[in-house]
Amino acid sequence: MYRKEKSIQLKSSSAALYNNLSVLRPPGRQLLCFSAVHGPSVTVLSAAADGLGFSHRQLQAKEGGMAVSTCVLTQASWCVLPSRVLLVLTSQKGIQMYEFDGSIMVYWHALDVTEHPPAQAVFARGIAAAGGRFICVGTSSGLVLVFDIPPKGTNITVSEVLEQHRDAITDIAAELGRAPDGAGDLVTADDAGTLCVWSAGEEFTLLSKIPAFGCACSSVKLWNGVVAAGYGNGQIRLYEAATGLLRAEVNAHARWIYALDLAPQTGKLLSGAEDSFVHVWKLSTNPDTDDVEINHCHAECVTDTQVCGARFCDPEGNSFAVTGYDLSEIFRYARA
């Protein structure tokens, strides 16, 4: 039911990194923006809605202090706040925040490399907007940094540091639909597979902690109080955010999952993995019976492609885009 559309060419190939594609529809504009990390750089591309005309921009990882080796970016993602949209890049050296089009860097946060033992990798990874005025970013030591973002200007500050994870943060997601009372509005995931559900606010509070089961969680989404998590063993699991109860388990992929996305208006879930498959699922919740359901809708094999990024391009989930390791192309699919 989805058909392949014309691909978009990238100036450089995509790196094998989790969630290596971000898509933005800037409010009030007939534009679609894409970003994918190459390694030391990220390509930001805006395409007119009619599919004609593109503009490219290449942003480099900022080198903090002594350059010992090339600094690699780990993720790029847009954060949509009510007052502004920022493009956030994470790297081995720190966190870079830009105006949405990548034109001006408004904030730079350096990671303290010296406080780590030499064998431990240092990087930031996992990006999400939360609570109307915060941006949360994870680190390799398991911390989640909460940045307070003013409506305009560069006066960005770290308002809080969340210390519940003991392994490297992999992904962070904010509620995309409407959270039931007391369900929380932010979920953080780590390398061991531990998930934490938070309520964002002046002070963030931990609502539930879903323990690890020996498998890294590479991508996570939160929708109407349901946590959807993708794992290294190819499984997708659905948990109730408020209680942490497991409500569904899907043997979805044959290899490591790299990306999940959720279409907020329909509850469609997109998953992409190293096995070269992209799947579309449909989630539904019944508020009367508390039931959570998931159904398989569509399977797409992106031949000879280790999928590293997959995102819906509209809120209904009628179209999606995919990136793959070593490929300088964004594949696009739309409902026939």
Partner: protein, 379 residues
């Protein structure tokens, strides 16, 4: 990213190099005694204790060009000589083979099994030399000690670091093309059938639970994939069945070493870009090289030994032609420019090497510093 990547990169590329040299030594009908000496000399150098110590220190990866210098030195650790075109071809084959193995290994952790396959084969090459065998086993133990405690997430980070290292390399290798595991554009074929990784379920089942944890509904879905459950997990011990075949010797007399070295025009653009950006890492890279090469003992053919030249091509004409027609984007020339055209840089390297000589006096009269510079000039 991961500071634990270099030992795996070096050992696996080294393993591939030995497979290719072994096959070429046979193809060129080098007498058994001489061939064995070459293999033994290279393996002894590769698993040198001091060198291994440097290698296992946590560190970031350096450029392909820097690493190539190390293999250039390693390949010349015996009485055998390779010229520029053959060395280029050797390095292309090694890197594409290991890229394939990293890309295809079922779980990130299985990179360790690939490494063990290489070490098992190396041990077989030196099975008649107990001293060298011990050296290899020592590295084996060090690998187990360093890597057995890492989590799946940490192995994934190592794998991602390796994949970034190999990104945009699309050299076509005839043995892969013949086996239909590589496409004509240089990308590898990814199978959607066969055993799933150990610990992964065959896709197709959806289970739903109520709030008490009871399964209340079960549905199935189908895909074009045709997967099966794996029989057993490979052994991560010093001895054992690795199950995984990636990293074993794919060459034989009937499957000779051949390459098509051609890059696409797209590669050209990205490589050119890489070359014009000023490289702030050059000094750090030279440090790395000096440190690593400091641990590599290189023998010069002399005395009663007669050296010989190994050709990675079928004929000398072919080799010559390859040297002349090698695409510019596939050349490894950057370090050469850095080392010779800037007097400051050259002095810096001499200083580094000078320090090394003080720390480790060498019996040979040939100046080691000049030797390394000459080696780099030769790139």
């Amino acid at each position: 990213m991961s500071a634990r990547t270099l030992p795996l990169l070096f050992l696996n590329l080294g393993g591939e190099m030995l497979y290719i040299l072994d096959q070429r030594l046979r193809a060129q009908s080098i007498p058994g005694e001489k061939a064995r000496k070459v293999m033994n000399d290279i393996i002894t150098t590769m698993f040198n204790k001091k060198f291994m110590e440097e290698l296992f220190k946590p560190q970031e990866l350096y450029s392909k060009k820097a690493l190539r210098t190390v293999y250039d030195r390693l390949a010349h650790a015996s009485i055998m000589r390779l010229n520029q075109a053959s060395m280029d071809k050797l390095y292309d084959l090694m890197t594409m083979a290991f890229k394939y193995q990293v890309l295809l290994c079922p779980r990130p952790k299985d990179i360790l099994l690939v490494t063990f396959n290489h070490l098992d084969a190396i041990k077989d090459f030196v099975r008649d030399s107990p001293g060298i065998l011990n050296q290899v086993d020592e590295t084996f133990r060090q690998l187990i000690e360093t890597y057995s405690c890492l989590s799946a997430g940490e192995f994934q980070l190592i794998r991602q670091t390796l994949l970034i290292f190999f990104q945009d390399m699309h050299i076509r290798v005839s043995i892969f093309l013949k086996d239909k595991v590589q496409n004509s554009n240089g990308h590898f074929v990814l199978p959607i059938s066969g055993p799933v990784p150990w610990g992964t379920e065959v896709p197709g089942l959806i289970r739903m639970f109520n709030r008490s944890g009871d399964e209340v509904k079960r549905t199935e879905f189908t895909t074009d994939g045709n997967y099966v459950t794996p029989q057993r997990e490979g052994s991560f011990d010093l001895y054992g069945d690795r199950v995984l075949k990636l990293g074993t010797n794919m060459y034989s007399v009937s499957r000779p070493v051949e390459t098509h070295t051609s890059g696409s025009s797209k590669n050209l653009a990205s490589h050119a870009k890489e070359n014009i950006t000023p490289n702030p890492l050059a000094k750090e890279e030279l440090n790395f090289l000096a440190r690593l090469l400091g641990g590599l003992e290189v023998k010069k053919p002399g005395g009663s030994e007669t050296g010989f030249r190994l050709n990675l091509f079928t004929t000398d004409e072919e080799e010559e032609h390859a040297a002349l027609t090698r695409p510019e984007e596939l050349s490894y020339k950057v370090i050469n420019i850095e080392a010779t055209q800037e007097p400051g840089r050259r002095a810096e390297l001499s200083r580094i090497l000078g320090e090394l000589e003080v720390a480790e006096p060498r019996p040979a009269s040939s100046g080691k510093g000049e030797d390394l510079l000459a080696l780099m000039d030769g790139l």
